[in-house]
């Protein structure tokens, strides 16, 4: 059996026996700086803009809705089922489809839509990152298939960085089968190291903080 073969060879190579407990692991290293909300928002926006992403600070949910409405205009969009999008009134903008729970239907919609609108579970200030867990509220495809991704984020979810995220979510797998970190628009530099945005994922990203 390959399993027994590989494990046996591994143990023999290391001089270990079946079921032997591991040596004590090096302690976890997480460094969480104290940064106030304003500074976190400033850093998040600066990082996203650095990556050619667009940012907007919305004074109210209504402001966020107006911003999204202006962006989308008459074009087609798919919004996730996140309650916050509903609260902002974004899910019921005229050209926005929302409330889809069937994968096949969602896939067909996302393949044609020009905008994908999601919320985010967290944002990371020091790298300009959005964190999305796959769930009933957030499908994976919406932030992936359409050429433009709009994320509407609550300011309270902005963390200082990866270390704070992993201290809040020490076991992401307990919560979802998929946690994805998104940092800027999809990009490549595979031909002559020239930067091109929008390869497989969205080439444009807008982050709105309410």
């Amino acid at each position: 059996m390959p399993r027994e073969y590989v494990l046996h060879r591994t143990r023999t190579a290391l001089g270990r026996t079946i079921g032997q407990p591991p040596d004590p692991a090096p302690p976890v290293r997480l460094r969480i700086p104290e940064i106030d909300l304003e500074a976190r928002i400033a850093s998040l926006f600066a990082e996203i803009r650095n990556l050619a992403g667009k940012t907007h600070r919305a004074a109210s949910p209504a402001d966020a809705r107006a911003y999204v409405a202006a962006l989308v205009g008459e074009r087609s969009a798919v919004a996730s089922n996140a309650p916050f999008l509903r609260e902002c009134g974004i899910a019921d903008l005229p050209t926005v489809r929302s409330g889809i729970a069937n994968a096949e239907e969602l896939r067909a919609l996302c393949a044609d839509a020009e905008f994908g609108i999601t919320s985010a579970d967290y944002a990371l200030a020091d790298t300009g990152t959005l964190v999305l867990f796959s769930s009933q509220q957030e499908a994976r495809m919406i932030s992936l298939l359409p050429p433009v991704h709009i994320a509407v984020v609550q300011s309270g979810t902005i963390l200082s960085g990866l270390d704070e995220l992993l201290s809040r979510e020490p076991l992401p797998a307990e919560r979802s089968s998929s946690m994805v970190l998104i940092t800027g628009p999809s990009r490549t530099a595979d031909i002559e190291q020239i930067l091109v945005r929008g390869v497989h994922g969205p080439g444009e990203i807008h982050v709105i903080v309410v």
Binding site: L7, V28, A173, S176, S177, S178, I191
Partner: protein, 476 residues
């Protein structure tokens, strides 16, 4: 070294455009890395390297434990783990799976491990179509070449090469604008993603406490391949396992920075099992193939097992003066550069490619930049001595043996030894640099060697003479 390799090296050295391409590309990656790990940007970079090294060492020294923990976590989340002794077994699993599920088309996210086991060829032979989806890898697949660089597979091609290739293989009109070329590839591959039955990925990390596969990409192909097809299969070397999800706080900070200077890649996917109850999308089946393929052999070597810490950032390639001259296709196997020079002969056995450990100037640049602190030059030296010992046993150079015999013979005869020394200093003394040796010696390989090197002048009086003079003075 085979004739073909020698030819490849010669070709690369003679091709001025290629030399420029390698030099600029690696140079750019180097300067981006430098900026991203600078003291004011990432003050604790050295600490992170140390921690990464400790974590990798711990994971490797207790590998069986973490493999079993990883496996039980994958199972707990509804996935399956398959062990494969070699590439044939890993491919067989995929081929069987494809047959069972009636799958013909597989999309692949970038994975050096699948390159290592020639997965594409094996699948094609069974009538399965594997499609590379990373832009660089896709170009390489169309060109029937192997990746030129761990993180920049098509580093050696220009937009004009790509234009020709796309016209020839995709039947599109010739397009030399890079942005438009990317659009062409996006459109072709989008259809493949939507039609594929199975998505294959590698793994940058396997997280033991979560049963998760972590994949980092910039283009989004890693997400596409693990979101759209019904089945996701990750193929990873057993050495990729790390203890805890929280350890990613260390590794994710140094991986992209060391590779190309990004602070973090655009997408990091943390995937644990198939789609769950209530989740809207994601694969219905989730498999992880754990590949040995020579790794347990390497593990048995106490000193060299640290080469399994490698996180494939490519920094050691960019900083290697040898790689920067000979390029990625001059190395046998898929892993080029200093780390390739170490792991290739170990995966395949040292006598397979006895010249590889010598393809380095041991300048130490690789060890200085390696984010997990692998002592690359030390390992290369150890491998060299293994190769040399193997050679000594049978074909030690006759000249070397002969000259040692002459020297040993002379040593046992002090008068003659002294006389030889005296002759030497007469010949080379005064302004007598070795370069001025008789014309006779300045031809061929010896001439080439001497053209770059000097011997210091021999002292006018030898140690023996000084010793005697001292003794005499002491007696008086």
């Amino acid at each position: 070294m085979t004739g073909a390799q020698e030819q490849k090296i010669r070709q690369t050295l003679d091709d001025a455009n290629l030399q420029l391409a390698i030099y600029t590309a690696t140079g750019r990656l180097m300067s981006h890395r430098k900026a991203a790990v600078a003291e004011d940007v990432l003050p604790d970079f050295q600490e992170l390297r140390t921690q990464a090294n400790l974590l990798k060492r711990h994971a490797i020294e207790n590998l069986d434990h973490y493999l079993e923990q990883f496996e039980s976590q994958v199972v707990a989340h509804g996935g399956k783990v398959i062990y494969a002794r070699d590439g044939a077994e890993a491919s067989e699993f995929l081929i069987d799976l494809a047959k069972k599920k009636g799958a013909r088309l597989m999309v692949k996210s970038k994975s050096m491990t699948t390159e290592e086991i020639d997965l594409n060829e094996r699948l094609e032979r069974q009538g399965i179509e594997p499609v590379e989806t990373d832009l660089g890898e896709y170009i390489m697949q169309l060109a029937h070449e192997r990746p030129y660089h761990i993180v920049a597979p098509a580093l050696h091609l220009t937009r004009y090469d790509v234009a020709d290739l796309f016209t020839r293989k995709l039947g599109v009109e010739r397009e030399t604008e890079i942005e438009k070329q990317t659009k062409i590839a996006r459109a072709v591959l989008r259809q493949k993603f939507l039609a594929a039955d199975i998505g294959i990925s590698g793994a940058n990390f396997l997280v033991a406490d979560s049963g998760a596969v972590v994949i980092v990409t910039n283009e989004g192909n890693g997400r596409m391949a693990t979101t759209l097809p019904r089945i996701h299969v990750a193929i990873a070397g057993i050495e990729k396992v790390i203890p805890r999800a929280q350890d990613l706080a260390v590794f994710l900070k140094i991986l992209a920075r060391s590779a190309n200077g990004q602070h973090i890649t655009v997408y990091t996917s943390f995937l644990a099992g198939p789609r769950r109850e209530g989740e809207i999308d994601g694969p219905e089946e989730f498999y992880v193939v754990l590949l040995d393929n020579g790794r347990t052999r390497l593990l048995a070597d106490r000193e060299k097992r640290q080469s399994l810490y490698c996180i494939r950032c490519g920094a050691c390639l960019n900083h290697c003066p040898v790689y920067r001259k000979v390029g990625g296709h001059s190395y046998p196997g898929v892993y080029g550069g200093p780390i390739g020079a170490i792991i290739t002969p170990q995966y395949l056995g040292v006598t397979h490619d006895p010249w590889l450990p010598f393809a380095s100037s041991l300048c130490g640049a690789c060890a200085e930049v390696c984010p997990v602190k692998i002592e690359i030059p030390k390992l290369l030296l150890a491998l060299r001595s293994e190769v040399v010992q193997a050679k000594l046993r049978d074909t030690q150079s006759r000249i070397e043996r002969l000259s040692f015999r002459v020297w040993a013979w002379a040593m046992r005869r002090p008068r003659i030894y002294e006389m030889l020394g005296f002759m030497g200093s007469a010949l080379l003394g005064g302004e007598g640099w070795i370069r001025r040796l008789p014309k006779l010696l300045s031809h061929g390989p010896l001439g080439a060697w001497l053209s770059q090197r000097d011997l210091p002048r021999l002292p006018a009086r030898s140690f023996r003479q000084l010793w005697r003079a001292r003794r005499k003075a002491g007696e008086n």
